[in-house]
């Protein structure tokens, strides 16, 4: 049975006519054309599909669109300010924290979820928080550096030294 779902996506009202079984990620990608949110494993393990629903990170491949009725959804497309990257996105660029980039939208959304509750995360806390986000290229090292830098800039501090993230080790 088709039904209309109305929600707020990246600050703007949106609605789509979907089936009960339509996933939130399908609504975002196929109905609204917001293809920044990716589907990697489709089994809620990899985290490429992470978006924020009512301010909290969720895996949009494991949420029905109808469950998000009335919700406030933030995707990677809603993070930047026009052409100016969000400090967390800028930190990923600065630190070469991506290679193929497939996992990056989910990484950034999870990073923002972490920093919301913990503005000064340790490297260990960052690594633990990323247990639901898999990257097959980078080995996570530069992702962790990027999130630490993004968090620092969001706190109003200068980015740490060594912005390239090519740590000698």
């Amino acid at each position: 049975m088709q039904r209309t779902v109305s929600l707020t996506v990246n600050g703007k009202p949106a609605s789509a006519t979907v089936e009960g079984r339509t996933l939130l990620v399908q609504l975002l990608r196929e109905h609204l054309g917001l293809t920044g949110t990716h589907v990697g494993c489709d089994t809620s393990q990899c985290g490429a599909c992470v978006v924020h629903v009512n301010g909290e990170a969720v895996k949009s491949c494991t949420l029905l669109a109808v469950q998000a009725e009335g919700a406030n959804v933030l995707t990677i497309e809603g993070v930047a300010n026009g052409d100016t990257l969000h400090p967390m996105q800028e930190a990923f660029r600065n630190n070469h924290a991506l290679q193929c980039g497939f996992c990056t939208p989910g990484m950034v959304m999870s990073a923002l979820d972490l920093v919301k509750d913990n503005p000064r995360p340790t490297d260990r806390e960052i690594r633990e928080y990323l247990e639901g986000n898999l990257c097959r290229c980078t080995g996570y090292h530069n992702i962790v550096l990027a999130i630490a830098e993004g968090a620092a800039v969001m706190r109003g501090e200068a980015p740490p030294a060594n912005p390239h993230g090519v740590a000698a080790e």
Partner: protein, 263 residues
């Protein structure tokens, strides 16, 4: 996924009346059910969403117990000051289920009603000798989990809350699958007012207690007291993640670590 109808229940009575249709299914956080639907392992005619029933959410203290509403999410249990103070092991357990995004959706009621053999909450419910409240009755933990994905819940019965006695000395140790974060073996050890309890998740078809360890720990609460107590591997899970023999070994290791962490 097969197609289904979706209904957002407005009250417990509304959900229960819809559940009279035996082909209907409840959805709580959906962290297990939606993957199950994707694999076409279930074919409900209707999904009844419990998310909009306020009485199912929240954490309250009732004398010497903590009552957690069925739709309370793992992230809420993990962050709860009440749970952290009264049963710190339970808050810690909730903070290691799945990953942060899963913990923002998954619920305690959904977890125990599903009774996945590798879920974490069943070990806490049995280990702490909790009581499961439903829309019809109260069920003791030892009677609630009855087998592989099986519980004592009757058709039309809905978990509304879980009542945990306050137990300061308890610990849960999990040897987890690194991809899914499910327990390959998880052992919950608790020194409850009624005695020491040892509950094991992940190893068998359903959570189970280890009476030999409980007796030994009652006499001497130390890891050494149980180091020679090996559980039989017959009937334990054996799959690509771990053999039954390995799981039997892990039960002893995780139990000793849990005792060490409590002591």
């Amino acid at each position: 996924m097969y197609e289904f109808q979706y209904h957002r229940a407005t009250s417990l009575d509304d959900a229960a009346s819809r559940l009279a249709d035996e082909e209907a299914k409840l959805v709580a956080g959906g962290m297990t059910l939606i993957p199950t639907l994707k694999l076409r392992l279930a074919k409900p005619t209707e999904l009844i969403d419990l998310a909009a029933i306020p009485s199912l959410k929240g954490i309250t203290e009732e004398g010497d117990a903590v009552v957690i509403g069925a739709m309370t999410r793992h992230a809420d249990v993990n962050r709860s000051d009440v749970v952290k103070r009264a049963i710190p092991a339970l808050a810690t357990l909730a903070g290691h289920i799945g990953d942060p995004a899963v913990r923002n959706r998954g619920t305690i009621g959904g977890s125990i009603a599903n009774n996945d053999p590798a879920a974490d909450y069943p070990a806490a419910v049995v280990g702490l000798n909790a009581t499961v409240r439903t829309n019809k009755r109260e069920i003791a933990a030892d009677q609630f989990f009855t087998g592989l994905f099986e519980t004592a819940l009757q058709p039309g019965e809905i978990v509304t809350a879980v009542r945990f006695p306050k137990v300061a000395q308890a610990n849960y140790q999990k040897f987890k699958n690194p991809a899914s974060r499910y327990a390959i073996v998880g052992v919950f050890v608790a020194r409850t007012p009624a005695g020491v309890r040892v509950a094991v998740s992940g190893a068998g078809a359903c959570v189970f207690r280890v009476p030999a360890m409980e007796t030994a720990l009652a006499a001497n609460f130390s890891p050494d007291a149980i180091k020679d107590i090996q559980i039989p591997q017959d009937g334990l899970n054996s799959d690509i993640h771990a053999s039954a023999e390995y799981r039997a070994h892990l039960v002893n290791v995780m139990a000793r670590r849990a005792v060490q962490a409590c002591a």
